[in-house]
Amino acid sequence: MELLGLFLALFGAAIAGGMSGIGSAIGIGIAGNSAAGVMTEDPNKFVQCLALQALPGTQGIYGLLIVFVVLNKVGLLAGTPAPLTWVQGLLIFAACTPVALVCWISAIAQGKTSAASIQMISKKPEAFATSMVLPAMVETYAVLSLLMSIIMLNYIAL
């Protein structure tokens, strides 16, 4: 039973990292399909397409970031995990959920927007800058969820 707290905390970190990674993979996949289509017509657009395709990848990184913050918080990185009560573990789990949910879904949505932006630069290469802003609008919510998780984790007293 004494490991239940640690288990809950790690489970929270795992779903934050795992689900955001799943979302990013799907999002990048969607954008990649679109990029491949555009590049069959014009291989010179590789760099622009790659930049737009990479945008939904940040959610996975935010997930990784939360994993790191949690591991750091419970002392696993230092090698001696702090003894957590199950309530503390559950609190950490709760703090991980914003990133797990929002990064997962928003990466997929951002992938679709990126795919549309890639289509946009295939017709209007000069609109590259504005085409990058559209996916960045979606990412706002992933950033906000990251902030929520970080702030919550910061305020959980161990």
Binding site: Y62, F68, V133
Partner: protein, 668 residues
């Protein structure tokens, strides 16, 4: 600062000097030709030259397409983008054009391509034949028996459904007895179709065909001209295919040789005809009578005196009339900013330049963009890598084009801010200084500069991020208010812009009064005054009291969008923290790898270097996109909508060479 002043120029000149005039306008690189109203046709000789340019371009495009792929360009496209091009004069280009007969060259390449296509077609036909024949690989008789047959004998090659074969065999045995022979081509046991040769007496032909039809067999046409046994035919085909492939390789070699011999010249000619096409295009856009041309163009006031001198030097038959843009004109926009703000012109132009005479947002964008970029990337080590990379590019490439240089400068200035922010938040490749033993001497320096801890005290940095957001937004509103005031709309300046500054700032002060009680009263007053003005301004257009109240309340409800806008700046904390933490994760993985036996240090080095390269790429993209977004979405929506067109002068626009012409009297 801002938008450069332009003049509208009308140039009248005699037909005899048209070439010189167009050349001078083009070499000056400072005239954007205004299209004519389109009422007059271009003069015949100009139209003829334009057609010539178009013809040469058609040949060049064809040649680039056909032999361009065989040519390995010694100058990479990155080198070319950074200005690494051969320098030539117009005279040299003209000589090259005189010496090259593009039409003949294109014709000879076209001939080679036609031959190549014919060879490929024949080879592919032969391969198809071979695949059909290989179905009959074990058929022991000459194939002529399947075509013409002998006097008494004939053969039929057909594909049978596998399940119908037994029935067919039984019917043949029953009706035609031993005078018919079946050769079944070996195939896999699960095949649904079986290939069968039926050999029969000519007299039995109708019955055989009938039985075949009943079994659902479909006859296979053999390639024409095959008469020998299958193995002999197959080896003949293989021999012919090898011969064709040898000839194809020879032709490819010829094309490659042609490409290597001609591509450098073709690239030069491409630029040459491009320049001429621009020049004659300018003449075609002019109004012409039998003897006189009138060309109108926009020119920056600063470039005018020198241009005028050069034009007047051509001939006394040239007259330049200069005027200010009229109300009906829509001049293009040329941005002209202080060197420190100039790199941010890229951002303004990417969004949409301001219409002529409107506020140029570049000087306002520049400082905020650099600060935001610095906070998002937020790592002194990454900043050093960026700075070093850009410095090396500037050292290696001495003739970087203005626009590319501007872009590099944008990142260079971003790197400076990144370094500063990284230093005060103690991030140098993440926590590299803290975890690596040989960096220990740098620790006191790092700690001395370390005044902000986003990891330990994220709320402080969040506060700073939001405060920057408030300043940015209020600054945007202030610019809008000033612009409205400048245009004489004092009511709009106050009612629509300035009062929002009062209202939002007041609300924020009230909101923070739990920590700083003394700001409550001034905050409340500001919010009340601002709110009242907003309420009044929104309802002033209508006399209906309910509508007045409704639109006033609706306007006040608009303050929620400010809340969203301000919270959006929290990304500055999140992204900066992201860079630092990713850096630390990479270092952590590196320190773990040190423990691996024998290759520990090498592995650690590879992880740290590879990881940080990845970190720089990902965070650079994020920092650029998000700082740009804060400008475009949050900041510009307060005061700027763009809508101008970029000043695009007639220039010696080239792709492959740099053209200099000292005789023109303009520095390149």
């Amino acid at each position: 600062m801002g938008v450069a002043e332009l003049k509208k120029a009308e140039l009248y000149y005699h037909r005899s000097v048209q070439e010189d005039v167009a050349k001078t306008l083009q070499h000056s690189g400072s005239c954007q030709i205004i299209e004519t109203s389109g009422t007059t046709e271009p003069a015949a000789d100009v139209a003829e030259r334009l057609t010539l340019c178009e013809e040469q371009h058609t040949h060049l495009r064809y040649l680039f397409r056909s032999i361009g792929g065989h040519y390995t360009d010694p100058v990479s496209s990155i080198d070319r983008m950074l200005g690494e091009k051969p320098v030539l004069s117009m005279t040299e280009l003209a000589q090259a054009a005189d010496k090259t007969d593009l039409k003949t060259l294109a014709a000879s390449v076209r001939k080679m391509e036609t031959q190549l296509n014919a060879l490929r077609l024949e080879a592919s036909q032969l391969k198809t034949n071979a695949s059909i024949l290989s179905l009959l690989r074990d058929f022991p008789y000459p194939l002529s028996v399947l075509g013409d047959g002998t006097k008494t004998l004939k053969g039929l090659f057909a594909v049978f459904p596998a399940d119908a074969l037994e029935a067919f065999r039984a019917s043949v045995a029953a009706q035609l007895s031993a005078e018919t022979e079946l050769f079944i081509s070996p195939g896999a046991s699960g095949d649904r179709e079986v290939r069968v040769v039926v050999l029969y007496l000519r007299t039995h032909e109708p019955q055989v065909l009938d039985l075949c039809a009943q079994s659902g067999a479909s006859p296979v046409e053999l390639p024409s001209g095959v008469r020998d046994v299958v193995s002999a035919e197959l080896s003949a085909i293989a021999g012919r295919v090898a011969e064709l492939e040898r000839r194809e390789a020879d032709l490819q070699e010829d094309l490659k040789r042609t490409a290597n011999e001609w591509m450098p010249t073709l690239q030069r000619l491409f630029d040459y005809w491009n320049i001429l096409s621009g020049r004659y295009g300018a003449l075609a856009s002019s109004d012409a009578t039998d003897r006189t041309f009138r060309t109108s163009f926009w020119v920056p006031t600063t470039a005018l005196p020198h241009l005028q001198k050069r034009l007047e030097a051509i001939s006394p038959n040239v007259a330049l009339v200069v005027s200010d843009p009229g109300p009906e004109d829509e001049p293009p926009t040329l941005l002209k900013n202080h060197p420190l703000a100039r790199p941010a012109e890229v951002l303004t132009n990417l969004y949409s330049p301001p219409p002529y005479g409107e506020v140029d947002p570049t000087p306002f964008v520049a400082p905020f963009f650099f600060i935001f970029f610095g906070m998002c990337l937020g790592d002194a080590g990454y900043a050093l890598v960026m700075g070093a990379g850009i410095w090396m590019l500037f050292r290696k490439y001495r003739r970087i084009p203005f626009s590319v240089g501007n872009f590099l400068n944008l990142f260079a200035m971003g790197a400076v801010m990144t370094f500063i922010y990284g230093a005060i938040t103690g991030s140098f490749f993440g926590d590299f200084i803290d975890v690596v033993f040989f960096m220990a001497p740098l620790r006191p320096l790092k700690n001395a500069l370390f005044i902000l801890d986003p990891m330990g005290k994220p709320m402080v940095v969040l506060g700073i991020s939001l405060l920057l957001g408030v300043i940015h937004l209020m600054f945007g509103l202030a610019v809008a208010a000033w612009d409205a005031y400048r245009k004489g709309n004092i009511v709009d300046a106050v009612g629509d812009k300035a009062c929002w500054i009062l209202f939002v700032t007041g609300l924020i002060l009230v909101g923070t009064s739990s920590a700083l009680p003394f700001v409550f009263l001034p905050g409340l007053c500001m919010a009340l005054v601002g709110g009242c003005i907003i309420f009044w301004y929104a309802g002033r257009g209508t006399k209906n009291i309910f509508l007045k109240i409704g639109s006033g309340l609706y306007a006040l409800y608009g303050s929620t969008s400010y809340l969203g806008d301000i919270l959006s700046y929290s990304r500055l904390l999140a992204l900066g923290l992201g860079s630092a933490v990713i850096g630390s994760i990479i270092n952590l993985l590196g320190t773990m790898a040190v423990g691996v036996p024998y290759i520990g240090w090498v592995l650690a080095g590879a992880i740290v270097i590879g990881g940080h390269v990845f970190g720089i790429a990902v965070n650079l993209l994020g920092a650029f996109v998000h700082s740009m977004r804060l400008q475009y979405v949050e900041f510009f929506s307060k005061f700027y909508s763009g809508g101008g067109s970029i000043f695009r002068p007639l220039t010696l626009s080239t792709q492959y060479v740099d053209v200099i012409d000292p005789e023109s009297g303009f520095s390149s």
